[in-house]
């Protein structure tokens, strides 16, 4: 079957779904959806349709990015536009079937948006949603729209067109198109993709390898997972194009074993692509062959580093090695290897189809195109976003993310995972591109973004990230292996309230040494959270060390809970709920917390009725309270 026939068949099947007289139901079944309960929603829908005898097509789709609104169910009634419903529970799903499919009431109150032209029945256009409006979806173009387990859906949405076109070009021309697009590695370092391919192509040794890095280990990052779960073929197609450009039939995907769904969908996708001749020997009848093997990582963060990843594929201990030689000259098994990130590959097919200039139309002078981010933390609308480079942090946080919950003030944003930096309010207008973020003391990284509000203690955050890197260090080079424990010991001491005057200087010294002296990217960037945090939030650090205060009221050793005598009504709720039973008192007596035994769990603070609000959390100050419970009103 040639490509045209494949495409015609796929388009026919795809149209059949959308233009049939049966309703079409799309259920978001990526990991985020499943975690929110999408499986039970799916079951409820199936049962309800069966009970009512309604014939409908149900397809599972990937994550559309609005993770905070999962589970998302889209319903297409014949002749009507697709309507998206969010936070669907099984009960809500049954209700929707009754209201919309049976009674033709699209329930605008429950709907999120419609995919038609303009608004429909009082439901706004889906893309008018504030979270989606500023976004440009290229790498995640199909996520949430197609069934990732059906290759025909992907082909119908222009899938494998890029590969088809690339095979008609010379490999050098393919590289030229990518060069024109300005695509840079989306794994964090931002190395120009075309340059990497070209160097790998010109390496003399054979065989060569194309490797996809899907070992996404940053806490709070899930961009690669979403792409693999929602649109695995885009990655496979990108890899095939890279294989053609580099001139090799060998492809590897290194996926974390913690992503079972992504692995499963990749396996299905590889099987399907092989079946129709889009992968394997003689792709589309040409001389070009390309095979993809899946390697599962065992959960080491450092294996996301290129050379460690390759050692891991070889079956060795995942430890980075020094460069040169770079992996394009000597990578997997000492042979030329082009290693790219999932997102980089997912961008490639569209670039080939629509041209490098089109892609370069997005972004800044040096950073072209779009970038996906996993927006998490203290934010109204966490989720997966894809934005053009050059957008500023303020737009991401306030327009896309909807700001901080409860209108609390913004404090910091941590970009680039555990090795990125914390940027303060004053840098909110920082443009999101490779150079500017690095200059500000953070990194682009693979795209994690953690937003923090005033309830976040910067010392505590720094401690968390340093501990993460300390535990994930491979143990090879001295500064990272021995320096990070030193740093984490000091940080721990500071959060315990035992900080010493020269601790900040010590942290800066060790941090600089680790940064300048470490072997791989993990080490050189691990002190970033501390260094940037000290740079931008020094008063908070000094409060911890000198005044023994935690302004954000987070560090347990530095906070105290008091029951205000003039407010306590002696109701006894706090004493009954205290898990360690250290609140003494009685009926109509002012309750007293035994400070020595208090574990600072804040249960009393939460349980004290709002009309009394007698429990307070303070840091660094002493409030006079009676030593023993005394009758209410005696103070």
């Amino acid at each position: 079957m040639n490509f045209e026939e494949l495409r015609n068949k796929a388009v026919k099947e795809w149209r059949g779904l959308w233009e049939s007289d049966k309703p079409l139901i799309l259920v978001g079944l990526a990991t985020c959806g499943i975690a929110a309960g999408a499986n039970s929603v799916l079951k409820a829908i199936e049962n309800e349709l069966k009970r009512r005898g309604i014939q409908a097509n149900i397809i599972p789709v990937g994550c559309i990015g609005l993770c905070y609104l999962e589970p998302i169910v889209d319903i297409v009634r014949p002749g009507h536009p697709r309507i998206s419903y969010c936070q669907v529970t099984p009960e809500k799903a049954i209700q929707l079937i009754e209201d919309y499919l049976v009674n033709d009431n699209p329930r605008p109150d429950l709907a999120l948006g419609n995919f038609g032209e303009g608004s429909f029945a009082g439901i706004p256009n889906f893309y008018e949603h504030p979270m989606l409006k500023p976004q440009v979806r290229i790498a995640t173009r199909n996520c949430g729209h197609i069934n990732p387990e059906d290759i025909n859906h992907y082909i119908a949405k222009d899938g494998y067109d890029g590969l088809h076109r690339a095979l008609a070009m010379q490999p050098e021309d393919v590289i030229k198109v990518v060069e024109k697009s300005g695509l840079r590695g989306r794994g964090g370092a931002g190395f120009p993709t075309s340059k990497k391919w070209e160097e790998a192509r010109h390496s003399k040794a054979t065989p060569k390898f194309v490797v996809c890095n899907a070992d996404e280990g940053d806490p709070g990052a899930f961009m690669d997972r979403s792409v693999l779960e929602g649109d695995p073929h885009s990655v496979l197609e990108g890899m095939s194009i890279a294989g053609y450009a580099v001139g090799t039939p060998n492809g590897y995907i290194y996926v974390r074993a913690e992503y079972p769904l992504a692995v499963k969908r990749l396996q299905i996708a590889i099987g399907q692509a092989k079946e129709v001749g889009l992968l394997g020997e003689n792709i589309l009848g040409t001389d070009f062959s390309f095979n993809v093997n899946i390697m599962q990582g065992a959960g080491a963060f450092v294996c996301g580093e290129g050379s460690a990843l390759m050692y891991s594929i070889e079956g060795k201990r995942g430890m980075p090695r020094v460069r040169p030689p770079r992996s394009v000259a000597s990578g997997l098994w000492g042979l030329p290897t082009s290693l790219n990130n999932v997102e980089t590959f997912a961008n490639v097919p569209t670039i080939i189809t629509r041209g490098g200039d089109w892609y370069a139309g997005y972004g800044t002078e040096t950073s072209k195109g779009t970038k996906t981010f996993a927006l998490t933390g203290k934010i109204e609308r966490p989720g997966l976003i894809e934005v053009p480079m050059g957008i500023n942090l303020r737009q991401i946080i306030y327009e896309i993310g909807g700001g901080i919950p409860k209108e609390k003030p913004f404090k910091a944003i941590q970009t680039g995972g555990p090795s990125g930096g914390c940027l303060p309010y004053t840098l909110l207008d920082t443009s999101v591109d490779f150079e500017t973020l690095t200059k500000a003391g953070s990194i682009m990284g693979s795209g994690g973004m953690v937003v923090m509000d005033e309830d976040t203690c910067m010392v505590d955050v720094a401690r968390y990230f340093v501990e993460f890197c300390r535990d994930e260090s491979c143990g090879k080079c001295v500064p990272c292996r021995e320096g990070l424990p030193l740093m984490s010991d000091i940080l721990e001491r500071i959060t315990r309230g035992e900080g010493e005057a020269d601790d900040i200087q010590k942290l800066l010294d060790i941090g600089e040494t680790i940064k300048n002296g470490s072997l791989c990217g993990l080490g050189t960037s691990a002190p970033n959270p501390v260094l940037s945090s000290i740079k931008y939030f020094r008063p908070e650090w000094e409060a911890h060390i000198i005044e023994k205060k935690c302004p954000a009221l987070v560090c347990k050793a530095l906070i105290t809970f008091y029951i205000l005598p003039d407010k306590c009504a002696g109701c006894g709720i706090c004493a009954r709920s205290c898990p360690v039973e250290v609140i003494s008192g009685g009926k109509r007596l002012i309750h007293v917390i035994d400070q020595e035994k208090c574990i600072k769990c804040a249960t009393c603070l939460e349980k004290c009725p709002e009309r009394f609000s007698a429990v307070v959390k303070v840091t660094g100050e002493h409030i006079n309270v009676p030593k023993e419970p005394i009758p209410v009103g005696t103070t």
């Binding site: 040169p324 143990g475 002296g517």
Partner: protein, 573 residues
Amino acid sequence: METINLTIDGIKVKTTKGKRILEAALDAGIYIPNLCALRDIKLPWGACRLCQVQIEGRRGTVTACSEPAAEGMIVRSDTPEVNCLRREILEIMLARHPHECLTCWRKERCQPFDICLRNVAVTERCVTCPKNRHCELQKVADFIGLDTMAYPYTPKGLPVEMENPFIVRNNNLCILCGRCIRVCQEVLGFEAIAFNLRGANTYIGGAFGKPLIKSGCTFCSSCVEVCPTGALMDRGEEWTRGTEREVLSIRCKYHCPARVDVPRFIRFIREKKYNEAVAVIRESVPFAAVCSLICEHPCGAEGACRRGDLDQPVAIRALERFAIERSEKYGSAEPPKGVASGKRIAVLGSGPAGLTAAYYLAKKGGHAVTVFESSSQPGGMMRALPDYVLPLNVLDAEIEGLANLGIEIKTQSKIKSVDELFEKEFDVILATDIFTENTKASLGKTRKGAFTVSDSAAGKESFIQGVAAGRQAAASIDRYLGGTGNTTEVLAPVSDGVPRVGRIDNFAQRRRQVMPTEKPSKQIGEFNQVELGFNDELGQEEAKRCMGCDLRFMVARMVASPEPKIATGLVRT
């Protein structure tokens, strides 16, 4: 090989293309501190991060071990930036390494067993560490100049592994430079040790956390040799230093009077290169075939083969026989090369000592040798042995080989007095039959040009003693006649690099192979242990038991650094 010129610390250095800055500097005698570097290895490791240097025109610092030398490069290893970073890294490294031995101002003066005046815990005193004064870490710390410590010492508190008779591993002193692992895995291919766990908990030990004795470790102790700290030590030999180390380590070779390079020939057997294996034996014993049958094998005696400390010694002589039986030719060597000296030498007696001396005198000295034997056939004590011990055809083949060297053997020629020979214009007489009345009488007084040697110099008649003594005599005589006295022969190929031995599973669990014996019906008299020699499988199995005790001395070359000439110590920045 393309030559590259670069400047390191203002000194012009020449090196070959492909070498890294560190190697170029060390070759030129410029010391750059390093703890994890190994020479002649394809990929640098780059873990200790101490060899930081600056390159003119580049931002920041790079590690000299990983940066390839380039034409015209200007490298500086002593800038304030480099010194500062190096020092910080060393301080961080020492946060979990006992460091009194590195920072104590008295460390130059104390001798072993001196009383420590510095209130240092017993286990952390420099004088209780066997590596004291031989420690690379000390050398580095002295060079960088460490007088105080920025960070408190936190002990690791790891157990000391000493479950085997050879190697003590004290991970508390380990700085995880990885040299031992790379030597074991990449160079020798044993793959017995590895990094375990990760991050700050990383430690080196038997692969998958097993003790060495179960991890396939062959106890070749190459890891001990390259260890820059006191983390790896030879057990019981901790305090031994200097040249005797080779004698104490390659015990088979040095227990052999003839110094047969046993580990080397066993390695050839393992590679199934039997001709080369026999050539190695022949380098020390000209009659290798005879040796393989009748040698008293002191190499297997108590306290000799190191494997004996583990279970039982390797059956070295049996392996010699195994190799001889599989080699293509074991006749004697080619005719001598070089110019004839024109000197005539008479050797009295054709036992092991006499024939060995004749062999070397003829082959290496180029002398004309005549051997006088009183009985009807040459061989001396060798011919007296029963046939099932030493078949006569083997002996005859070996002796026939001597004719190629131009050695004349006169049988049934009783010499009444040595004077008679000097009269026949022999320059030198070597008497090996000193117990015969005639010789004894005529040697009664000191004679110029008369030498004696005996198979039974040690009091007991011994083949291998005789060979050794004969060779020694040959050297003395050659020197007496104005030669160099060199009896060293290279018959087997010698490679430059360290041999890659390859993994041996269950090394410590392999039991000694027993040689099959003749059926009882075919046994001769009361002698019921007629050995038949190993078959292919048994021989290979037995060869795998060899610990390769000489490997460590080959590996030692990989860590050689010049002594630092200028101490930049105490340059505070």
